[in-house]
Subunit: 133 residues, 2 copies
DNA sequence: CAGGATCCGTTCAGATACTG
DNA sequence: CAGTATCTGAACGGATCCTG
């Protein structure tokens, strides 16, 4: 049986889709921004270098697991740097890179759209909810 | 006991954070764009009005559940319109709105950043992976 | 101080079956 | 054709305990 079922066809389509997505730069960026804490951390570091505990305090509600995870992925992407100073106890400072700062611009543009249009979106939502209530 | 434990303090912080987030327009926009299929659907409809099955075919790998869910939320936000024509069987056409089209611009800017910088990100990632391997 | 490792509940997305 | 309803496995995020 050479994948002729509906599920089979969908599976095929999914493979194609995944391959497409893996190549799609926009999508990969989106997956990054998608991350709940990425933008927050980026914005926080945009205002100045900070230590782990300082970031933790600056961003309310983040668990240390998620913060560490986020910082690691940002470092991996070259959007921030992590500098360890071997004092006792150890000191770790995070800073945004040039690349990270350029992304901050994009985030800013999104912010601008949001501030200009989200009220309209809200109106539409309320309207929709009222109609479907 | 007036929430004095570590967990209690985090819970408090989380409530503050959630309240902040609910008010944060940028974040709400991000949550929207975050959605796996939103940008795809938006881009697809940006090229012309389409029917449900046409969108389904155009976007590989999307399940009908996710597609319906995505279309509903976009309609709720006023980013697309849904027009039902009572033929037999019924015909449903989706179209992007002005609001949706303005968001498309933002998506385009993100796409531009991605195309300009994602190669660099890739280099950083490979570098990072090589160092930590 | 700055995490690593682990457990666990919730949430999400896909598969399947059914409807007007 | 264009969905709705339901079930389930996988992924995600949080809590907790432990280390250099």
């Amino acid at each position: 049986m050479a994948t002729r079922t509906a599920a089979g066809r969908r599976a095929e389509a999914k493979v194609e889709y995944d391959a497409f997505m893996a190549q799609c730069k926009s999508r990969r960026l989106l997956d990054r921004l998608t991350d709940k804490w990425v933008t927050l951390v980026l914005c926080t570091l945009g205002e100045g270098d900070l230590r782990y505990s300082e970031i933790s305090r600056h961003i309310a509600g983040v668990s240390q697991k998620m913060l560490t995870q986020t910082l690691r992925s940002l470092e991996r992407d070259g959007l921030i740097t992590r500098t360890v100073t071997p004092t006792v106890p150890v000191t770790v400072e995070y800073a945004i890179t040039e690349l990270g700062r350029s992304l901050l611009v994009v985030v800013g543009q999104m912010k601008a759209w949001a501030e200009t249009h989200m009220d309209q979106v809200q109106v539409h939502q309320d309207d929709y909810d009222r109609r479907t209530a």
